[in-house]
Subunit: 397 residues, 2 copies
């Protein structure tokens, strides 16, 4: 018996490339949507050449495109465009993340698709949105992180700011787009009405700034980066230990008392500088060295064990190599292995959407370029074998 | 005429506190879901005391709880528990983010709710998920970031790692939970079947690592943090300029050529070290100082203008204070102002889910503690005035 999937029957026409859009459609494909990815004829998604590449195969692409079908199309030809419109008739959802305005110039914008399928849910993802003074500005992840306020809030206070390593503005916008698409599908199911969705990476970064905006607008304080510290609590930091670093986070007297008991210094709570969380925050530069003098005497694993035992939040700084073998991630199906043609077995992150009756299906590897062209041409576009040969000869497919 | 909203009619019973859960239900409330937030009788959501606080009102809470209704309930009393079960009969969705196992001990876990409402979609959010070796481990955002691999990948290569400033593991898990809930609702609409969703902050952080996992599993390279650099491209960095810093990102010859033309050094492309993107990445330590020697001669705004004009990705490092007045964010309704009782007018981030026909509604301020208790007791639980007086006297509400 095949596993039931939540989005069984939802059809997505996917013009997305690289990261934000593909992350969105990967989440939906894992949940059971049928995703037909249109790739540039001859070349494919740019990320097919993105680092890491082994034997000509990109691990970047193969991570983010599992469970999708690939058809190549030359969208700059009128025949290719017409075929894309036919596919849009079949689809419930279109997703694209070209730079703002590009897909409209290809004759495949929302208005174009609406003419053939007025019920379509059509989501665009771009750096800054489809309109407004920045809409034509070029964007990569680092640009969106900087413009949305994330970079200035990350790093040590006495040093230059630093962007988040992985491209979180892409991933965050991708997952927000998935929320928007599912909400729009719900609306369509109940009213018959499709619509356009205009997602911006800068918007989503700005939406991810926690309490930073009210700190400014309520208190008049322009928030600054705090390293590994917390604006309201101490001790809450990254501390050196015998064999590396350890993160310890306390935010109230109960946790602090448990920490100093483990440290063998229960008397610290009687010091007026450390008697309450606000006092400790005020005297952070006094309490942090005391904690670090203790952590320096132990290995990270040892500290984690001692503090876990009493429920004090503590973490080792995990590297990716360690996470591949992590028992929690493995038990939760957060590592999946695909057999990739030309490369062999490769592990990828699983899907965090843990629906218990309709769990995400993550075992279908990413398609080769145009791997499903023939099937899609036959099943959805009803092409004959002769027509398919012709389309290939003309360089349309 | 009232604005149509996508999730009109969806009823959510919200046990969430602080950040991850409230971010999830805020997104859904803005889209039109009716969210009834249960807060601890007498005390409320812990984040009602979280920084920033002015005149006893938290900007942390009021940002994340707009558009929701608040009822207080003593969940440790049997009567309070029974009332929560009655509310769960009314609801389509339950969301909670207590530490793993806590709500089950209150007699309000998935099995308990299922007995009174078998069609419920029930989402739990926790640090590490409901089962597995870490499930009882204490979690704050920094802990989840460290355990999920984000901290080790953020910061400068020659310095200690640094967590992302804002608590992105909370926000990312909240928005992923919203995807899971909407997918489960879709499934229920088509099959009648509700289900349980088990979200983990560590899972979502791990899912946000871009290409880091395949770098390890395909190439055998344990990825390291790169500061503001990019693993595959150069020049791509944060550069000092006359009045601060500027981020410039090029990833191919077209962008690089445009950059060096603006710099007045078109001959650089003829230097074999800088002839291709892979060569430039290899000689990053040669090209970055050349770019910085140029940026140092100009103000950030001036550089942005010159590079925007030729389509080279460029960004100033925006502070929150600057973003409050940002023309793009303001044009896109990404700043909303609420009149908060006891505080006055405060601006918050808007909602990035830009559905065009059913736009998010963000103009309803967060509720006072228990502000909607009476209405909910009457309309949903059909209590009489006498019963309400009694419940208040008994400290249940």
């Amino acid at each position: 018996m095949e596993t039931k999937r939540a989005l069984e029957g939802v059809k997505i026409l996917d013009f997305t490339r690289v990261y934000s859009g593909p992350y969105c459609t990967m989440l939906l494909a894992d949940l059971g949507a049928e995703v037909v990815k249109i790739e540039a004829q001859g070349r494919g998604d740019d990320s097919r050449n993105f680092y890491p590449v082994k034997n000509g195969v990109s691990g970047y692409f193969t991570y983010l495109n599992r469970g999708k079908k690939s058809i190549t199309l030359n969208l700059k030809s009128e025949k290719g465009r017409q075929m894309a419109l036919e596919l849009a008739k079949w689809a419930d959802v279109v997703v694209e993340n070209f730079s703002a305005g590009t897909i409209g110039r290809l004759g495949l914008g929302y208005e174009d698709i609406c003419k053939v399928n007025p019920r379509i849910v059509y989501a665009s993802i771009s750096g800054f949105g489809q309109s407004g003074p920045y809409s034509r500005k070029a964007a990569y992840d680092g640009i969106a992180q900087a413009m949305g306020g994330m970079v200035n809030l990350t790093g040590y206070p006495d040093q230059t700011p630093v962007k988040v390593g992985p491209a979180i503005s892409d991933a965050a916008t991708g997952v927000h787009a998935a929320v928007a698409i599912l909400a729009a599908l719900w609306h369509r199911e109940h009213t018959g009405e499709g619509q356009y969705i205009d997602m911006s990476m800068m918007d989503t970064v700005f939406s991810f700034l926690e309490n930073s905006v009210p700190i400014m607008t309520m208190m008049g304080i322009n928030p600054e980066r705090l390293g590994n510290g917390n604006p309201g609590s101490a001790p809450y930091n990254l501390y050196k230990c015998k064999d590396g670093m350890i993160m310890i986070a306390t935010a109230n007297n109960s946790l602090f008392t448990r920490l100093i008991n483990v440290m063998g210094q229960p008397e610290l709570i009687e010091d007026p500088r450390f008697a309450t969380n606000p006092e400790r925050k005020l005297h952070e530069h006094d309490i942090d060295p005391i904690v670090e003098a203790w952590t320096m005497q132990h290995d990270a694993a040892e500290i984690e064990k001692m503090l876990d035992a009493v429920g004090v939040p503590v973490a080792q700084i995990k590297t990716v190599e360690e996470l591949i073998d992590d028992p929690q991630l493995n038990q939760r199906d957060m590592l999946v292995e695909h057999d990739i043609p030309g490369v062999g077995k490769v592990k990828y992150p699983g899907n965090p959407l843990k629906l218990q009756k309709t769990p995400p299906v993550t075992n279908r590897r990413a398609p080769l370029l145009g791997e499903d062209s023939e099937q899609i041409l036959k099943d959805i576009l009803h092409c004959s074998d002769e027509q398919i040969v012709e389309l290939r000869e003309e360089g349309i497919v």
